[in-house]
């Protein structure tokens, strides 16, 4: 199977090469996207079959001569390959239609196929060299896609910040792998698994992995590039970056921390729990403050990564205390959320792309009323919004329910820090879930409901069938995974078994297709019954009322307490919708500040309201670093304008100092 998967990767890279000459022709788009759709569908099916199969390995004589390129397909890799290729297949299907509007296809098509191939390769790699090479290839290909619309200076800035952060992250991973390999320089994963690190070194590896994989995934405070770069790319690539590439980063974290690093310590769980909790709440608060639809979605990815890391932190906490069943539950919750997030975030980015195609607008303040003009997109986007807001019976709720059950599982952990961190994370998770619902009421309500706020929104048209099909596929999967969560949990069992040495109870054996978190806990949830109950009672009520009471209906102007104003500007905007939340949370987190300027009586000038928000992460971490770099370069600036004599003496002086240092060292 691993050979077939590597052939798929090879096919994707071949497609990337073929796309260079093809991009200029009319056949480029259907060939590249259609080809990618075919290849990734095959890879997805192979990965699905490989989750339960025995691990297979392959070493190719590529890369470093004494090392070779190791590849390994085990349950964890197979699960992430499934996520990657499912997302990639849907994005390719979507792009067959969406890509028609691409202004410069030669800047997108080759990198698109290479990006897909590189993500697959990261997951397959089984030695540090091929892992880092594919990781960097993935970063560079996605960077090229971010700056594909290079005429917009914002995109160039996003690309610059992205490449700086990505290089920094890769550097951290490189050092981390160096520590894992140790003195013996065992760069393949088998040797790393066998090696035992001292606690100090293990702590350093954890820190480096958190920086390397965390910056790619979007952990606060390393998330700053993400909301800039993800929206800048074409929408199908945004969907891949948010829905899939962040999951590859999560894969990197799981592979190193759960697989290569050996037995976890309890304080590493505390670190991950704190980062996850902070990330989830800050991410959704940032998202609530946005009025750019794609940027809102990108910030929301940060929140979901936080939820995934909460699950991973719980798994580490249980594993460190030798409680395998708990670790299995928490890991299942995290991996289930990985799967769910790749579904609904891709769906939502596809929807945002459809809105962009139909109106040319990403700014929600210029949208509105699209539910009338784009009914199919609106419905599918609504499904995505409900799923990401963790509303039953959709899939987002199932995974968050499992995370809660994991929090409830063992209140008697021996370490005090965990006793505080676990319930605090429960509160943060609850807060994030409630704020997410607020965020998506805003995203859907302002963009799709109400009256159009611009002529572009008033004249929008429904998008093509390929885009609708891709969105429909993911919306259906969101519902399916929500009403049959037991099937997904059972599917994840081999992955969890391999990582934690235990698994959750077999869910499909539970009567009525309910799910139960563990044998001891007497809690259960049944998405299918809840769904059928709601559907049946809504339908019955509507039917009975229309039959027995009244079905008369008259259209009239809106009531609005007797003073309807026909101007769309009188509606609530994205900013005003978020104003109460900005006042409650924003004043604390963002130092939100409003200044209202009222003209004196008799003055005909308009009243103004101005709001200012500070980004605490940028202020605390990045502004000082940028300032320091700036002042150092400023101070060294005069070195640029010296005479040749001074340069020569400078070189001579430097040489003497270095030789002296060497002599002293010896």
């Amino acid at each position: 199977m691993i050979v077939a998967l590597l052939l798929c990767v090879g096919a994707l890279f071949a497609l990337a090469l073929a796309a260079v000459p093809l991009a200029a022709t009319a056949a480029g788009r259907p060939v590249v996207y259609g080809g990618a759709l075919g290849v990734t569908t095959i890879a997805m099916l192979i990965a699905l079959a490989a989750i339960g199969a025995t691990p297979s390995e392959l070493t190719l004589p590529l890369g470093l001569p004494w090392l070779g390129a190791h590849f390994r397909l085990d349950a964890l890799a197979a699960f992430f390959l499934l996520v990657v290729n499912l997302g990639a297949a849907a994005a390719s299907l979507y792009a067959i239609g969406y890509g028609r509007h691409e202004a410069a296809p030669h800047r997108v098509l080759p990198f698109y196929a290479a990006f897909l191939g590189a993500m697959n390769l990261v997951v397959l790699a089984a030695d540090a060299y091929s892992f880092l090479l594919s990781w960097e290839l993935m970063s560079l290909a996605s960077w090229a896609l971010v700056v594909s619309q290079h005429r917009d200076p914002d995109n160039l800035r996003a690309g610059f910040i992205y490449i700086v952060m990505a290089s920094f992250g890769t550097l951290a991973l490189l050092l981390g792998f160096g520590l894992l390999a140790g003195q013996a320089a065992g760069y393949d994963f088998v040797a790393m698994r066998a090696a035992h690190l001292s606690p100090g070194l293990a702590a350093m590896v954890l820190a480096l992995v958190l920086i390397g994989a965390g910056s790619k995934a979007g952990l606060v405070p390393l998330h700053v590039w993400l909301p800039l770069a993800h929206p800048a790319a074409p929408s199908h690539v945004s969907a891949l970056m948010s829905g899939v590439m962040t999951k590859v980063a999560v894969y990197g974290f799981i592979r190193i921390v759960f697989d290569l690093l050996g037995a976890p310590t309890w304080w590493s769980a505390v670190v991950v729990l704190v980062l996850g909790g902070v990330t989830s709440v800050l991410g959704v608060l940032y998202a609530l403050m946005q009025h750019d639809l794609k940027r809102l979605l990108a910030y929301h990815t940060v929140e979901n990564i936080g939820i995934i890391f909460i699950g991973l932190g719980l798994a580490l906490a249980f594993q460190a205390n030798g409680f395998a069943a708990g670790a299995a539950l928490a890991l299942t919750a995290a991996l289930f959320h990985v799967f769910n997030h790749s579904l609904f975030k891709s769906l939502l980015f596809f929807g945002a792309g459809a809105v962009l195609t139909a109106t040319g607008e990403r700014d929600m303040e210029h949208l509105g009323g699209l539910i009338h003009r784009m009914p199919r997109t609106a419905f599918l986007f609504l499904v995505g919004c409900a799923a990401i807001s963790a509303l039953p019976p959709l899939n987002g709720f199932a995974s968050e329910w499992l995370t809660f059950q994991a929090i409830l599982l063992r209140p008697d952990l021996p370490q005090w820090a965990l006793k505080i961190a676990v319930p605090a994370d429960g509160a943060l998770l609850a807060l994030a879930a409630a704020l997410a619902a607020a965020c998506f009421v805003k995203a859907f309500g302002i963009s799709f409901l109400g009256r159009p706020r611009s002529s572009a929104a008033a004249q929008a048209h429904e998008v093509d069938g390929y885009s609708i099909a891709a969105m429909g596929l993911f919306a259906a999967l969101c519902l399916l995974a929500g009403i049959l969560p037991g099937a997904v949990i059972d599917g994840l069992a081999p992955v969890v078994q391999a990582l934690s040495g235990a698994r959750m109870p077999v869910q499909l054996a539970v009567p009525w297709l309910s799910i139960v978190p563990s044998e001891a806990a007497r809690s259960s949830y049944n998405g299918l019954l809840v769904f059928l109950f709601i559907a049946a009672s809504a339908w019955l009520t509507a039917f009975a009322i229309h039959r027995l009471a009244s079905h008369a209906l008259r259209r009239g102007p809106a009531w609005d307490c007797g003073f309807p104003d026909p101007r769309p500007a009188t509606q609530y905007t994205a900013d005003s919708f978020a104003q109460p939340i900005r006042r409650v949370f924003g004043t604390v987190v963002f130092g939100a500040h409003e200044v209202v300027t009222m003209p004196p009586p008799g003055d005909m000038s308009p009243a103004r309201i101005e709001k200012t928000l500070r980004d605490p992460v940028w202020d605390a971490f990045y502004a000082p670093i940028a300032g320091a770099v700036g002042s150092v370069t400023q101070a060294l600036n005069y070195l640029q304008f010296l005479t040749i004599r001074r340069y020569l003496s400078l070189v001579f002086g430097a040489l003497v100092v270095l030789l002296l240092a060497l002599a002293l060292w010896q």
């Binding site: 009323g369 539910i371 009338h372 807001s389 963790a390 039953p392 709720f397 329910w401 809660f404 929090i407 409830l408 209140p411 505080i420 319930p423 605090a424 429960g426 609850a430 807060l431 879930a433 409630a434 704020l435 619902a437 607020a438 009421v441 859907f444 309500g445 409901l449 109400g450 009256r451 309910s514 806990a521 809690s523 259960s524 949830y525 049944n526 019954l529 809840v530 109950f533 709601i534 009672s537 809504a538 009520t541 009322i545 009471a549 009244s550 209906l553 008259r554 259209r555 009239g556 809106a558 009531w559 609005d560 309807p564 509606q571 609530y572 109460p580 939340i581 006042r583 409650v584 949370f585």
Partner: protein, 317 residues
Amino acid sequence: MAVIRDLLVQGVQMLLVLALAPLLTGVVRKVKARLNRRQGASVIQPYRDLRRLLGKEVVLAENASWLFRVAPYMIFAVTWVAASLIPTFGTGLIFSWSGDLIAITALLGSARFLLALAGLDIGTSFGGIGASREVMIASLAEPAMLMIAVTMALIAGSTQLSTIAGFMLSFGSLRVSLALALFAFIIVAVAENGRIPVDNPATHLELTMVHEAMVLEYSGRHLAMIELASALKLLLYISAIACIFLPWGLASGEAGVGAYAIGGVSYVCKLALGAVALGVFETSIAKMRVFRVPNFLGAGLMLGLLGVLLLFVSLGM
């Protein structure tokens, strides 16, 4: 045979909550009127209102979408399903394991999600103000509710309400966390049902309203569904508090007809108690400014979190 009896109990429960919900609203209104030295409308006035609304035609705003027309039925259905999962007179509900306290909270969240969207659908400023305030209130009330669920789950070992009620029946000692959870629960219930001091169900004064602003554009049978759903929600919260903190009289799974009768009578008594308490509470307190509400709810959230922390610290010591 047992399955048939369980199904029967479940069906009776679903019809009972539906039948009692308007009466509960009527009793609360009557209590408030009497405390104001008014005669007040009859306690069955809500039934008459519903019948009248159901018979009327719907006047729909010109740019209302399908969402606006579907939402009332969905909101009602979701609330009804949530209410049917709460043990009222007996714990042996056959479908209670299809959703626990977390799921009930999330189901109510779904209803609110739809209602807030319906408020935004017409594109009027009142709908917007109601929706944006509602989500602000919910962003604090929902985590508080989840913290209560966590507290109960830690004490009773399950998030399932039937199990929690059964456990509380036999639970002898007192815990500080329980008292904290009760206070938090009351705060959440007041906020979620749009009661004074958070919102005023009786007002149409523009700037003070939340729930009424969202449903301003509804009429006829749609409004009837929304009204019935909010009455059900009030009943749901009072039933949940009664089932967790006053579980006495609840019939257990294999009880006979007599036990169910006792359960039914005690349930009605508990509801009456809740209605009177709510009426007295609402009459004795003034409405808060909107931006005071977060402090009130924040207190609820903190109480819930404190309860959980206490349990985490004290269990397994």
